[in-house]
Structure formats: C-alpha cells, structure tokens
C-alpha cells in the first residue's frame, strides 16, 4: 500500500516540477494576450532569461543575481516586442517569431563566445542555484501514513521557484479579475476604442501587460537553468514556450484552467518518461512519441471546437491605431 502511495506521490511531485515553468510562462502570456497582443515569443523570452540567469549566476555565484538578470533580459525582449507591435503597429506573430529565432541564435552564440563550452554555461555550484527546500515538519510527519508521504514528497522538497509558480496563479487571478489594472487590461483586449474613449492609454496598458509577461517568463526561464538544471544548454526551452502558449489557449486565457492545462501537459510528459517500453493492458507498447504529441493534438482539437470552445480576447492580434 505504501509503495503505491509513494509512486503516486513521486508522479505528482514530478508533475509539479514539470508544470512550474509552463505555468509561469503561460501566465505571462495571459497578461499579453488578455491585453490584445499575441505572445508567440514566450519561447524566446524563456531562452533569454535562462541564458542570462545561468551566465550571471555562474559569474557572480549568486542565484538571486541570476534571477534578477534573467528577469531583466526577458523584460527587455518583451519590450522590443512591444516596440514593434504597439509603437509601430507591426505584425505580432511575425515579431514573436523573429524574437524566438533571434534569441535561439543569440543565446547559443554568446554562450560559446563567453564560456567556450559549445553554447553551454559552466555547471553551477550549490549557492548559485535554487536548491530544494525542506518544509518544516516534513521529517516529523514522514511516519504518518499517506498524509506524511504526500506532504514530504509532493508538498515539500521543491525549489523556491516551484512555490513562486504556485503562488503566481492566485496572484495573477487576483490582478486580472480584482484590480483596476486587471479591468483595464481585459478591456483593452476586448474593446480598445472604449478604453481610449475613457481616457486611458491603450499603449501604456499594453506595454505594462508585456512587462508583466516579461517578468513571469523571466522567472520561468531562470527556473530552467538555475533551479531545475544547473547550467544553460543551447535551446534548453525546447518548445516549452509554445507548449505554454498551447496551455494558455487550452485554459481559455483564464488563470486556473491554464494551470490545469499545464498540470495535464506536465503529467503527460511524466507518464511518457515512465512508460518507455512498458506494455499497457489492451493496447500493448505505446510509442513514447505519441504520448509526447498528446498536448499538441489536444490543443488542435480544442481550437477546432471538438472539446469545448476557445474564445480568444476579441481585439487580439489587431494593432490599435489611435485616431488623429
């Protein structure tokens, strides 16, 4: 019995660790897209942050400095996106793709030029990354059946940024639905003309939304390189930015359902890693690649209206041109 509990607890813990960077990036994307800016550049922002965080942590030896540098890099990328899409009314998808491609090259290029390890950054020591945290009582409660195991394996023992991700969901929900900024954000994504008429700057609101997106993607990228792993590896986001975008759409641009989608996608990944070569009852060995493709197939089905209906913010993708 305790064996099964332990397995379930371990799977849950791995799911939480996999979902954390997705949720952070997806919540970042939520700000941008709710304000009416398509944010395909999540991937690029994560990469920028992962690289700068690892590079800074490796040079300074401080995880916090790394996190700061990562977030700053990601915000900068987000503002470039804003400059193209808000100030110059450029195509938002094109801008996002451009940034993703540029950063995929730039991080690898700067990495190999600065550290001479083929695009990787040096392995980080214990102080330079966010180590797992043992929550109080984890050891004392370990003897209690079920509850003890779950508390010790699932709730305790993650690095700080996993808890940040968990806290970010209610925070974002509160900001988007309960604050003045949140109301303006949603209004600007649905009907920018009305917001403009009310005397609120559409551009400023959208720039703020993109800055928020930058911050959250920055934490997400730093999670990859200085918390989950101990160095930057070229293209280490490996499509997680696009997966986060898929989760955001799957969660219909709302914080809690988006978290649910992130957990689902992360769980699919955990299962896929565990199932390699293990035959399942009835179907036999399922190719791991098929399980890897599940999040993408699910998102396509959702977009097609086969599972629920994804209704995007009404003004998404349309540059706002103020009348002169």
């Amino acid at each position: 019995m305790s064996e099964t509990w332990l397995l379930v607890a371990l799977l849950a813990a791995a799911t939480a660790r996999g979902a954390a960077p997705l949720a952070l990036a997806a919540l970042g994307g939520l700000f941008a897209e709710r304000s009416g800016i398509v944010d395909i550049g999540l991937e690029g922002k994560m990469l920028a942050s992962a690289f700068m965080a690892a590079a800074t942590a490796a040079t300074t030896g401080s995880a916090w400095a790394g996190l700061g540098a990562g977030v700053a890099a990601s915000v900068l990328v987000s503002l470039v996106h804003g400059f193209a899409c808000i100030t110059h009314a450029g195509n938002q998808v094109v801008s996002g793709m451009a940034l993703n491609i540029t950063l995929s090259g730039l991080t690898a290029m700067l990495g190999s030029a600065w550290f001479h390890e083929g695009g990787q950054t040096p392995l980080l020591g214990p102080g330079a990354r966010f180590a797992p945290i043992e929550l109080p009582g984890a050891v004392t409660l370990a003897g209690v059946p079920a509850v003890g195991t779950v508390y010790r394996e699932v709730v305790s023992g993650h690095n700080l940024l996993v808890y940040v991700a968990a806290a970010a969901v209610p925070m974002v929900a509160w900001i988007v639905y309960r604050t003045r900024f949140g109301l303006r954000l949603r209004a600007v994504g649905e009907n920018p003309d009305a917001v403009d008429t009310a005397g609120i700057s559409v551009s400023a609101t959208r720039y703020r939304a993109l800055a928020m997106s930058g911050v959250l993607c920055g934490v997400s990228g730093a999670y990859l390189s200085i918390a989950h792993h101990a160095s930057f590896i070229r293209d280490m986001s490996a499509g997680k930015g696009y997966l986060a975008l898929a989760a955001l759409i799957f969660g219909q641009w709302r914080p809690w359902p988006t978290l649910g989608a992130c957990l689902l996608f992360a769980f699919a990944d955990v299962i896929q890693a565990r199932l390699q070569g293990t035959p399942l009852p009835l179907v036999g060995v399922v190719p791991v690649q098929l399980i890897q493709a599940i999040p993408y197939i699910l998102t396509v089905c959702l977009l097609a209206g086969f599972v629920g209906r994804a209704v995007a913010p009404r003004a998404i993708g349309v540059p706002y041109l103020k009348e002169r």
Binding site: L99, T102, S104, G105, I249, A304, G305
Partner: protein, 371 residues
C-alpha cells in the same frame, strides 16, 4: 483654381508612381543593412571585427565555384519554403508550419525512393515530386480545413502540427523505418538510381566543368515553382481570389469569392511547395531519410518571404542571400571560431524583425523622404 487641383492630383500621382518602385526596391536593402548593422553590434560585443567577419562571410559564400554551388544548394531549400510562406501570406494567412510540411513531404519522397530502385530516372523524379508535394499539402490541409471550417487560427495549429510532425517522424524513424542493426535513426541509403542528378554531373555531360557541390536538379524545380507561383498569383482566377481575400475579406465575399475554398486551396499549395523542399535535401543530397532533415528551413522561409516581399523574383534573390549567409556562416566559423553558425540564425531573426515586424517603422519615414 482648377489647374491647381489638377496639378496637386498629378503631383500626388507621380509621387505614387515613383514610390511604387522606390519602396519595394529600397526597403529590402535598407532593412538588410539595418539587420547587418545590428548583427555587427553583436559581433563587436563578442570582441571580433565586424568588417573582417563580413569579408570572410562574403568570400566563404561566393569566393569559389564550390562555394557558389553550396550557396545555391542552400538557396534551393529556401526558395521552396519562401514561396510556401509567401503564397499563404497573399491570402492573409501565416503559415509557420512549412517546417513540418517539408518533413512530411520528405516522408513521401523517402518511401518512394526506398521502393523505386531501378525505375527510369524521369519516372522516379516525377513520382517523387508528386509525393513530396502531396505529403506537404496533406500536412497543411488539416490546419487549412480547421481554419476555413472551424475557425481555428492557422498560426497556432501550424505550430502544433510542426510538433506533431516531429513526434510522428521520430516515431517512424526510430521504430519503423530505421535500417536494422543501426543505432542512428535513419533509413538505409536509397538505390543510386533514385538519386537526383548532381548539377556538376549534368554540366560535365554537356561539356562544362563546374565545381563539385551538393547542388542538384532540384534547383531547376525550385525556379520552375517560382514561375508557377507567379502565374498562379497574378494570372489565374484562384490567385486573384486569394489576393482579394488577403486585401479585404468582406469585399472578396461580396464579390462572390468563397473564403473557405480559397483558404484550403492556398494552404494546400503552400504545403505542397514546402514539401518539395525534400526533393533537394532527401533525394538530392542525403539520399536517405534522416531525423530533422528540414533543419529550420521552414523558418528561414519566413525571412525569405518577408524580405522578398512575397514576390517570386524577390524570393529567389532573398533565398540566395540567406543561402549565402548559411554557406558563408559555416566557412566563417572555421576562421573565427567564436562566431559560430548561430550568428546566421541571429541575422535571420533580425531580418524577420526588421523586414516584417518593423516594416511600418521604416516605410513611413522613407515615403516622407521620397515625397
């Protein structure tokens, strides 16, 4: 009074006609210069000389007959994917899925070549072209159908289809098509009778000596595809309908154009063009199906289409430019090891940013300046 108005109209018309060629001709050049300047800043940041890097890049791309051959070999891929992205663009659709469509086109070519040993060359080439186009078109058809009939945004679905294509092909190559007793996930080498003829062999049989390079007959197919796309877009009813849809959907519908059919046809043609890229890579150069053979060419197509302003002629020129960057970039990394091939990816990204996302930022001042 009246003459003043007429003069005003005439002046504005003549400035329009001047603009008509100034903007398309000058903007790409200015954009390229801007992208290169930004890249030079990166090179500086790394501590190398931008001028020397540019010189090495240019001589690596055009310095010898072999180099030109390699440049054109890369350009062949980019003509196909650039045309693919451009056709979709004309209808206001953004096809990010050229990468996956090329991958699936390769599956068609690969399966044919594995089984077609000993067939007459002309038949193999024709069948391969049909299957390459069919594979790519099939992979674009689903997102197109979903866009046209269910309203799912084609940008997101084509991105998803890139990932699904990658998973599918990895599965097929690792578990099904892999050559038995081999570690790396790739098929056995095709029978030499199914290889596309190399251009230097063709030239030799005609009495010319040109440098050895992977350049093959697919270059001719690429140029022909460019001509066909030009005819399709500007000299057929379907092309007219597509462009009308891209300009103004409401007006197009009012004019009796059916958007759903037009979108599905255009996206399928776009996918077919992307699929044809595999003729060059799979049938012309690698002679086997291997993991991730499109190697990002689908994304390069976005840069090529934007830079070539979605016109086949511009696309061919932009593809040669990007081909030169890829070939020159790999030569450059030999001489200046700190400037890895990733620099080419940076330049490519900056070109998309400057030509695509920031196009208005430059056009307005330029138009004001010309006027």
């Amino acid at each position: 009074m009246e003459s003043a108005i007429i003069r005003g109209v005439r002046a504005s018309v003549s400035s329009r006609t001047r603009l008509r060629w100034v903007a398309p001709a000058l903007l790409p050049v200015i954009n390229l210069v801007l992208a290169l300047l930004l890249s030079a800043a990166v090179v500086r940041l790394i501590g190398e000389s931008p001028a020397r890097a540019l010189w090495l890049l240019a001589s690596g791309a055009f310095g010898s007959a072999e180099a030109v051959g390699y440049t054109l070999y890369y350009a062949t891929n980019f003509v196909f994917t650039g045309l693919a992205v451009a056709v979709a663009f004309h209808g206001g659709l953004f096809n990010i899925g050229a990468e996956g469509q090329a991958y699936l086109g390769g599956l068609g070519v690969g399966l044919l070549c594995l089984g077609a040993g000993g067939w007459p060359t002309a038949l193999v080439v024709l069948a391969a072209a049909v299957l390459a186009a069919a594979g790519g078109a099939a992979w674009a058809f689903v997102p197109a159908w979903l866009q046209a009939r269910r309203g799912s945004h084609v940008v997101i679905t084509t991105i998803m289809f890139n990932f699904i294509a990658s998973a599918l092909m990895t599965h097929l190559l690792v578990n099904v098509l892999i050559k038995p007793g081999q570690q790396s996930p790739e098929t056995r080498e095709f029978d030499p009778s199914t290889w596309l003829p190399q251009l230097h062999d063709v030239a030799r049989s005609l009495g010319w000596e040109i440098g050895r390079s992977p350049l093959n007959l697919s270059l001719v197919v690429a140029l022909a595809a460019g001509a066909v796309v030009w005819i399709y877009l500007w000299h057929t009813r379907w092309g007219y309908e597509l462009r009308a849809l891209g300009y103004n959907e409401t007006a197009a519908v009012y004019g009796g154009i059916r958007p759903a059919t037009t979108v599905i046809v255009a996206m399928s043609i776009s996918g077919a063009l992307a699929g044809l890229m595999s003729l060059n890579e799979v049938m012309g150069v690698q002679h086997r199906l291997l993991l991730n053979f499109p190697g990002g060419a689908g994304y390069v197509g976005i840069a090529v289409a934007l830079m070539g302003r979605n016109h086949p002629l511009g696309i061919v020129l932009a593809a040669i430019l990007l081909g030169a960057l890829y070939q020159g970039g790999s030569e450059l990394s030999f001489d200046m090891p700190t400037l890895t091939r990733d620099m080419v990816v940076v330049i490519q990204g900056l070109i998309i940013l400057v030509c695509g996302a920031l196009e208005h930022a430059l056009r307005r001042p330029l138009e004001a300046f010309v006027r």
